[in-house]
Symmetry: C2
Subunit: 305 residues, 2 copies
């Protein structure tokens, strides 16, 4: 039975960076998040793909993935993007939503006992649809989003934010959504909307965690080689939630402490760093427990003074 | 007798940000660095100003500043710049080098016993000129620079870098100088040129410290209000060197340990954060030992996991 349910997109990506090109590789927010989370606990995915997506191969690359919640319809979402020399943000060449266009998530009965939910980047209407199906019994719910939805579905997105415990978004999204250039102000404005935790992801510069008890500033893991940053933020959120789910027992008094979220965020940064070191989900699939532990220990050393 | 000698520019700045405008306020790399450093040890300045610079007032706002090395010639360097809403980088409106145009630093006899030197941002020809005058007896020498000199005086700048122990520069300068978008590669390439330590400043995102023993990633101090980031990087370098100078006795076996540089860098980030919270050197002048200590302790809390 999955401890963590991840709802989001599954896609076939075509990515070009100064280091090469890959066509129709596994992509999508739910794919990255689930492969990262599954390093820590059993994960149930809710998404939609087409017949052109090799689900069998996907479930074999990621262990402990339950695909009961993945519906098959038409063709898979296709995204094509390009990174320039500085490897900061991808320039989208084309997006074809295909099977994700009218995605209506359905929570399978087998997922009902999960204590953790991650609404990975997707249409806020789909995120709300899933929230309606979650029977409240103390679950811890996180959501991610992107600039597209901030512009198109701000009201719906704010509804999602009111219902969740942790919001995860990147720095430009935070500035857009909260209408301030200052990240500390942005973080605090999100807390005022409801979530107990806010994580602002800053790519190579790490992340900021805001909560009622203060701020945690996590530096980015210094990478000598960035091959493809696609999905690193999704992997961060997935690993963070997967780690939390592995550490906490679901009960009516489920509490997620701030120190535990700090540790989970560092583990998230670690998985994000592995993700960026190779194309697509290549590294996320390949990396083992010991490598994760080793990098976590290196991170501790580079962060201490 | 100064423990730390700081050579660089002194200026009168006109700065406009979304929070207001200030005309002809104290500016320049040496001014910011010296006011920050003087919180920790006696500082001797080497620079050049005009008759229009109120040196008396300057020496009264900063305690423990020795101005023997400041020559008076013509008019003071004038810089005018503007920050937009995002408060990232200043757009220069005008620069008149004036008295700094033909600045030839001279090391006063009273400064000869100093163990620490900071060549703050200035023409690398002036930095080399000063290096020629330093009688080698185990001093620890740091230098800062900027994009202007990387383009105009690359060869001279590389000569400076070969002679120093710590190079301090911001992330875009690092990318330009070392010809790589990757900061880890940039840092390691500087180490290969000679310096034992390299600090890459990343503004609100903190700084990276590179040395033979590894990397230290210092997150930026999260500021809710950034009024004017001018000089924050100079204050960082000044505070870092002032703190080191206050902790280490000059001897033929002067050694600066990596853990001490980590701590000094965090103190530098602390002073940089104060600087950005007000126009010009306002906060740098006003802030007391207790406020610095308190913010250092807050920084420890936001950085730990």
């Amino acid at each position: 039975m999955p401890k963590l349910v991840i709802c989001g997109s599954m896609a076939l990506d075509t990515i070009e960076t100064p280091y090469g090109k890959r066509q129709n590789i596994i992509g999508g927010s739910a794919s990255y998040a689930a492969l990262a989370a599954a390093k820590f606990c059993p994960v149930g995915i809710i998404s939609s793909v087409g017949n052109d997506f090799d689900l069998k191969r996907f479930s074999s690359v990621g262990k402990r993935l339950d695909l009961t919640g993945v519906t098959i319809l038409g063709r898979t979402l296709r995204w094509s993007g390009r990174y320039d020399y500085a490897m900061q943000e991808a320039k989208t060449r084309s997006t074809k939503l295909n099977s994700m266009a009218h995605f209506r998530p359905t929570l399978p009965a087998a997922y009902q006992s999960a204590g953790f939910y991650l609404l990975a980047n997707a249409d806020p209407r789909a995120q709300l649809e899933l929230l309606r199906q979650v029977k409240p019994k103390g679950q811890f719910i996180a959501a991610d989003t992107m600039n597209f939805w901030i512009f198109r579905e701000r009201a719906k997105l704010l509804k999602v934010i009111k219902r969740i415990h942790l919001l995860c978004l990147n720095e430009n999204e935070a500035r857009q959504l909260l209408e301030t250039p200052n990240l500390v102000q942005a973080g605090q404005r999100v807390l005022a909307l409801g979530p107990a935790f806010v994580i602002i992801k800053k790519g190579e510069h790490g992340a900021l965690l805001f909560s009622r008890t203060g701020i945690f500033a996590a530096a980015g893991y210094p990478l000598e080689s960035v091959i493809d940053p696609t999905g690193a933020g999704d992997a961060l959120a997935g690993a963070l939630m997967g780690y939390l789910a592995s550490q906490i027992r679901l009960s009516s008094t489920l509490t997620v402490s701030e120190p535990l979220v700090r540790k989970a965020l560092v583990i998230g940064c670690t998985l994000a760093s592995f993700t960026a070191e190779a194309f697509g989900v290549e590294n996320l699939v390949a990396v083992g427990k010991e490598e994760i532990r080793n990098r976590y220990e290196v991170y501790q050393k580079i962060h201490a003074f």
